[in-house]
Symmetry: C2
Subunit: 197 residues, 2 copies
């Protein structure tokens, strides 16, 4: 294999994917070359096309191929609410619920001081500009993840929005639908108890 430059380069390139080590990269490369060359070519084209055409929505910062994403273009969305999420996947999860009709802002990351990710890296200034520019905005819903980094991000945003005349809310913490108390962690039960209604 030592002199097989294309194969080595393919394995090295596959390792740039998150969560892929040298063994997985080898397995992927062998699989594509042995059983699915059509898939390899398709993946190559999809990568090239996406890298060239996908950009950020100028309003909500999510991935889109146009100046504005479909959600920001939709005239039926409620401009009084803005939901802040970490990633497009989180936005998609919110959309699938069908319970939210407002606007979004996608941070494309979260504050993580330990990894050197500060407010500038996730474009918080862009969020604040957006909030200032939406005249009808009454509520900002913080839907960052309920991890240490997500909570920190929500806290920093909430602090920065104080006194801007906009209501800041956070998704409710509580017992997940369909779960049994016996198997729910104590922190969640404690929150659910405090926030009982």
């Amino acid at each position: 294999m030592a002199d097989n430059h294309s194969l080595e380069l393919l394995i090295q390139s596959l390792r740039r994917l998150p969560g892929v080590g040298v063994k997985s990269a080898q397995r992927m490369a062998f699989h594509l070359l042995q059983h699915d060359r059509e898939g390899a070519v398709q993946l190559a084209r999809a990568l090239e096309h996406a890298a060239g055409s996908v950009k950020h929505c100028s309003l909500c910062h999510t991935f889109t191929e146009d100046e504005l994403c479909p959600t920001c273009r939709d005239p039926r969305r409620d401009h009084s609410q803005l939901c802040v999420v970490e990633t497009p996947a989180d936005q998609a999860a919110m959309e699938r619920t069908g319970a939210y009709k407002g606007l979004y802002f996608v941070l494309m990351g979260k504050l993580s001081p330990l990894d050197g990710v500060g407010p500038r890296d996730i474009g918080l200034q862009k969020l604040f500009d957006r909030i200032s520019s939406e005249a009808d905005l009454r509520e900002v819903i913080l839907a960052t993840n309920f991890t240490a980094e997500g909570e920190t991000t929500a806290h920093v945003i909430a602090q920065a929005l104080k006194g801007r005349g906009v209501q800041v809310t956070r998704l409710a913490r509580g017992v997940p639908v369909g779960s049994e108390l016996e198997y729910v962690d104590l922190g969640t039960i404690a929150h659910a108890l405090v926030d009982r209604r």
Copy 2:
């Protein structure tokens, strides 16, 4: 995300990689587009190039970009020994030991009747042709994996080579170097006991 065709296509294409489900594919796509577009383009080129240029060595069947792989081209290799392995990764592991100077045949798979993989699918006929054509060959070393499928493959090859005037050997089974007996499985200890020397 629904109307974001390039992104959707990229996620679908990434799912063709072995061991990658929809969540991993999403994570990979987001990572490449957000943090490593250069990596995306590099991977695209590596895929396209490998899919177009990597073929099988006409002698040993491993991946190579030329008619013959570097090992088969090497005049210093010992033509009296032929080592049969399942994959190029297994061949690379054998080479790294530096303990083997003979030739190889890479099956590019293993017999697996449950998955519908028979002798024709892994090119056993090509192996037998190769063995017939090597005039100096005295020993075939079966180095397929010590799994159920690998053992079956070794057994089928050994049976087929009976009466061909070539010695057929199998890698020794035994206790791995550096391991403590207490933690070695019983089958391995039993084999090591029977094959003691």
